[in-house]
Symmetry: C2
Subunit: 199 residues, 2 copies
């Protein structure tokens, strides 16, 4: 399959790349690295990415920033970080990507454990994940040409625990290699509208 | 209690108003009617509303538009309708309202059944509801001064069934009077981080 992997150099993206690149033709896209450059906060940039890549069998999206910190410090402006990238960025990858997706292709987006098992400081991230999760479930009912759509919700990553463990007391870290398997399940499996939780 | 009711003239808002106005001092806010005018898509307008109303014991938010229709017609621009009002509008009512909320006050936001029980055409609404739902759950852990936050998720409203029943086959309509009770539960009860489903 021809797979477009957006965010291929992040912790999750690179684990996904290692797992799927021996099995599929993978095109990578990222803000500063990759076969194609894309700024997912810009609809023009997303469209330019698809124009350059052409028709694909699957799109996997792993990027998305968000403000992490006390609610009292979460201003509407800081909340825009997650809205523009993790939320709108990922949803626009789908809305603008449908015309470039081959029949029975698939979209796999990324959410995270904060939507299910919230922590202090994680309201903005949770908001974006909750949005993507509910969008996927509803959009799966309405996709043309048998196109599937799922999302992977990773727990606290083993690789990121030094940076984030203070926010996630008692959360068991999961290795990127385990999380990557969920993307493979979405890519090569037959389900749609699913949340693949790796907690 | 001094309660600020935003969206008081809508189907839900007016049912909430009838139920709570005999019990509390209710200030109403809306785009074109009410004690105060507010455009919830503008942070300046939300702040001006709070400046005009002053300290409150509770805020209830019932407004929020969204595009309802086939996914193929859901452009990024049409998706902005829900993002700007139902999603960001409601969340900014909280983020900008915290300084105006008295100790142990409460915010009650509005979501909807499409996030749990999706239908064709409802991806944009579901997205906004999922965002607000996950935000409420996470933000409740981090609210200052014992402030509570909940949301009410109404099913298909009896009063709106003529307009929407084609999108909701087999959904049992619920009367606005039942939905309004859930807002009263959030307002006068003690729970936080809850989803009050009225399906």
């Amino acid at each position: 399959m021809k797979v477009l992997l957006i965010g291929a150099t992040g912790t999750i993206g690179s684990a996904v790349y290692r797992l799927i690149s021996p099995r599929h033709e993978v095109m990578t896209a990222g803000r500063s690295e990759g076969d194609v450059r894309v700024d997912i906060t810009s609809t023009d940039s997303i469209t330019a990415m698809y124009e350059s890549v052409g028709k694909v069998d699957a799109v996997i999206s792993t990027p998305g920033a968000s403000f992490f910190g006390p609610l009292a410090e979460l201003t509407p402006e800081r909340n825009e970080i997650a809205i523009e990238s993790k939320l709108k960025g990922q949803i626009n990858i789908v809305l603008l990507g449908i015309p470039y997706m081959r029949e029975r292709g698939s979209f796999t987006l990324t959410t995270g454990i904060t939507m299910d098992d919230p922590v202090k400081g994680g309201a903005s991230a949770a908001m974006a994940c909750g949005a993507v999760s509910a969008f996927v479930k509803a959009a799966s009912l309405d996709m043309p040409d048998g196109i599937r759509i799922n999302h992977v919700s990773p727990g606290l990553l083993e690789e990121s625990k030094d940076k984030y463990s203070a926010f996630f007391p008692g959360f068991e870290p999961v290795p990127g290699t385990r999380v990557a398997q969920a993307y493979l399940k979405s890519l090569e499996g037959a389900q749609t509208g699913q949340t693949y939780r790796v907690y």
